[in-house]
């Protein structure tokens, strides 16, 4: 749950980018880092391997500013996508308020997307949380590549809840802010 600190008048919300390895989660967060006004964001921290694969997480704090006397902060995290880093993934989901699932649209990654979204449900269940209780948006990334699954097929496989989804080309910043905005708003509305 988002942490409301009544003493320092702060609201902190944790948003996690989830999805299969090499799907573009880190690219999303790097684009956000490059586009958000430097006054509104902190340092982008990456705990990755020598080969630039996320080992533990990437972390970017973004400040919304002061709203009605409360200073509102969003903490954006990515998880490592590779299957064998599940222990790290589970840890990062602790206290999650909102989720953005970054799917890889390439045909050869279709199954990996399904495995990853099932893994998300399993990991949330370990915290006694259900995926449908947490605001979620889906980005179908890499839509610029030639060898991709149709949008309908992806929606059928990954979005039975009918949550907000959009096409993305994270390397060019396309479809990066839409899911973030959608999830952030839902997280705040849940405080009501």
């Amino acid at each position: 749950m988002a942490l409301i600190n009544y003493s320092s008048k702060e609201i902190n919300c944790k948003i996690v980018y989830y999805g299969p390895g090499l799907g573009g989660k880190t690219t999303n967060i790097k684009h956000i880092y490059s586009k958000v006004n430097p006054d509104n964001r902190g340092k982008l921290m990456s705990l990755d391997t020598e080969l630039d694969r996320t080992l533990f997480f990437d972390f970017l704090p973004v400040d919304l500013g002061t709203v009605k006397g409360f200073s509102v902060h969003f903490h954006l995290y990515t998880v490592p996508g590779q299957i064998y880093y599940n222990a790290s993934r589970k840890l990062i989901l602790k206290g999650v308020d909102g989720l953005i699932f970054v799917a890889d649209s390439q045909i050869e990654r279709f199954e990996d997307n399904i495995d990853s979204i099932e893994n998300l449900d399993d990991n949330l269940a370990e915290y006694n949380k259900k995926a449908e209780e947490i605001p979620l948006a889906i980005q179908y990334n890499k839509r610029d590549l030639p060898n991709i699954v149709s949008l309908n097929e992806l929606e059928d496989a990954l979005n039975p809840r009918g949550v907000f989804s959009c096409e993305g080309v994270a390397t060019e910043g396309i479809g990066v802010f839409e899911p973030l905005k959608e999830v952030s708003k839902k997280v705040l509305r849940k405080l009501r």
Partner: protein
Amino acid sequence: MPDEKAETFEDEFQTIKDNLEELCRETKSLSVLLIDKAGQLITSAGNVSSIDIPSFATLSAADFAATSNLADLIGEHDFSTLFHQGEKKSIYVSLIADKVILAVIFTKETTLGLVRIKVKKTAEKLGSLFEKIFRTLESEYSGAVDDDFINEAETELDSLFE
């Protein structure tokens, strides 16, 4: 949230802050930070101006979470404290009420033994207070903000994430 409740929180947070300041003073530490397990700073004492607080809080929580899992792998429930020794500065991390992480940053001005004893004393004092706060937070959580807040926050979000 009704004003009365907010005031109760203010009082409790002040007690927490007083305890942290006392700990910082008695151990001659540089700073003391209280962080929740999701990696968000609750409050701090001492000099934190040179610390990148969001990064520190996030890494402390991740550090604790990772070592808890390591403990699990060898059949331990948890490692209740962590110690990172540096050449000039060190960090002592302890868990309070199973939910909150207390991190003390100190130099050679003080000793690990003193920090350990004083942290234990502070953890005992704050433990029951935190149990109470978390119970209240869970029961009073809904209705924390109103429609005006949501509308204004959404406008800000639209301009921030253009």
